[in-house]
Amino acid sequence: MSRPKAVSKPGARVSTRRSAATRPAVVGVLLTAGLLASIAAAVTIGSADLSVPDVIGSIAAHLGIGQSPLDTLRDGIVWELRLPRILTAACVGAGLALSGAVMQALTRNQLADPYLLGLSSGASLGAVSVLLLGVAVLLPVAAFAGALAALAVTLGLAGALGRITPTRTVLAGVAVSSLAGAITSFVIFWSVTGDSYRQILGWLLGSLSGARWPAVAIAGIALLVVGVPIALSGRVLDAFAFGDTTASSLGVPVQAVRWVLLGGTALLTGAMVSVSGAIGFVGLVLPHAVRLLTGPGHRALLPLAALVGAVFLVWADTLARSLFDPRELPVGIVTALIGAPVFALLLARRRSEA
């Protein structure tokens, strides 16, 4: 808790850094343990009244240990409904928090989030085409295609204006988001009949209620293949923090790195959005919350943000499905509802310490 004071004394900075280098490792181990514990706890919570030993027995049976103590339907509740949904929540939370942290670094914009480059609006347009216009494609495929199309247009627009700079990219993203958002609204407004708006509303707010094993596969593979390398790129991002010129002089190929990281983050976000809809708050605010605790260095920030994101979304979704049982809320409502006050508390704490 002496860190904020140390920042004001330049001489003390080196020693603080060194002690902070061991701390993130400890925090990381604790968070990993916390994530596993959260997943284990969340799988025992739900509207169906299942005992903890039965839930453990059911999961063990699917992993090849013993016989499930539950009948087919209750076994299905644990293995086909709860567990894939919780694992998807963990992957999506990790992916969004990580993407948000990287986007904020790449664009040097505090308000950057994973959806900044038009990704969520593009994905929404893809989803609306399937849900309302009856385009015969699987929803995640359409959403992913929409997200990538929006990204391509954003980068194309930014590139057409000259060198790709943070400001140009952000502004191009704003333009593409608005356009895709307008088309989405038009489609909804034009074609919603009866109660069909509910499905699309749930998707636009972000919901994990449809997450089954295919969703785990999509989010999990994206996180492993794209997310892990990004989470390990903290050293490069630290160089970016000083501006393009300084980064170049430190030997970082600025344009190439920006392209690769932007593309990677977009792929990761696109995959997450395709299974969960546009869940807000996680990617925008969690990186800030973690930064308040770890300091600005990206080597610690990226992996820790991913872990915090995973734990956060697991619990947010558990609340979304159990708080008003048997009714359900879109998780996107819960993330902001819990997240905003928690974040305000963190900000207030930092102010009183500084």
Partner: protein, 317 residues
């Protein structure tokens, strides 16, 4: 300008002619005042030009033999039942969606009769006060009131009362229709096997289901079923699949609409690893109802008859 002047003149002449008429018959056909969703509405005379929004209002008028008063319909849930098809033929359909105020006013109605209260807002058919200022009365199917006079748990008494209220507004005798519905209701023998049922309207990730106090509950209850979501104090609710799997209903009532067919929901249930294991899905124990049957009105009694008719052919334990 000239046309307007002529029209005004015509109105003056008409007013001049018709003004003495009510004075001649002051009590025989007095004004009818109802409090509708908290808004008092007075009908000096029976409405002659009615715009109906949602199927419940259209079908109420058709059932009362007032089809000739409808000058336009909007936002219909689907085709009207066979018995009224001939009366509904040729009625102008303003819009498949919520109509705009201008499109409604263009038909010069003296009453806008809506099945949903949300029809009366600035971005739909217009605010009720604004319509009233223009001399257009507004009426919401009372069971659908949400801003005031929110009904409690729906019963057939309320539906019959509403038939009577609409009949009195139009100065027609609703007793024959009410008697017919009461008779049909009395003739219904509820299923006595203690079956549980799910009313599945729409949605794949988070299903939208019939809950504990509205028309879906009334239909299921009257048919002798126990609604698995009877405890939720709402007409409809977004439920989680987990609670449905746990309840494992004996029957699933699928709502069929153009935009969300019963078949699409059936395909989804049968292709899902868990939902395909539900007793009702394994037994093909589906009952299909049109969307309009899920709203309280003259279709509610026929909905129960339809449910029990379909039940005969189903295999349930």
């Amino acid at each position: 300008m000239r046309r307007l002047a002529v029209a005004s003149l015509a109105l003056l002449v008409l007013a001049g002619c018709s003004a003495p008429a009510p004075a001649a018959t002051p009590s025989a056909d007095g004004a009818v005042t109802v409090t509708n969703c908290g808004t008092p509405v007075t009908f000096e005379t029976a409405p002659e030009r009615v715009v109906t929004i949602k199927s419940t209002s259209t079908e109420m008028l058709l059932a009362l033999g007032l089809g000739d008063r409808i000058v336009g319909t909007a936002f219909q849930d689907g085709p009207v039942p066979e018995e009224w098809a001939a009366d509904a033929e040729g009625v102008l359909e303003i819009s498949d969606f919520m109509p705009s105020e201008e499109a409604v006013l263009d038909l010069e109605p003296d009453l806008v009769y809506a099945g949903w209260e949300s029809a009366f807002s600035a971005d739909a058919a217009g605010e009720r006060t604004e319509l009233a200022a223009l001399g257009v009365a507004s009426y919401v199917q009372p069971a659908a009131c949400r801003s005031a006079d929110v009904p409690g748990k729906l019963g057939f008494d309320e539906i019959f009362r509403e038939i009577g209220e609409v009949a009195s507004i139009f100065r027609v005798d609703g007793s024959a229709l009410i008697a017919d519905q009461q008779q049909r209701l009395a003739a219904i023998t509820p299923d006595d096997r203690g079956l549980t049922a799910l009313w599945y309207s729409s949605g794949t990730d988070t299903p939208y289901v019939g809950a504990g106090i509205g028309a879906p509950e009334l239909v299921m209850e009257t048919a002798g079923f126990t609604n698995v979501f009877a405890d939720i104090d709402q007409t409809w609710a977004s439920a989680g699949w987990e609670s449905i799997v746990e309840a494992d209903p004996d029957l699933i009532i699928l709502i069929d609409a153009d935009w969300n067919t019963a078949q699409s929901k059936r395909d989804m249930l049968e292709n899902d690893p868990v939902l395909s294991q539900l007793t009702a899905v394994k037994n093909d124990a589906y009952i299909v109802l049109p969307f309009a049957a899920g709203e309280a009105g003259v279709r509610s009694v026929p909905a129960v008859e339809s449910v029990l008719g379909q039940l005969k052919d189903l295999r349930v334990e």
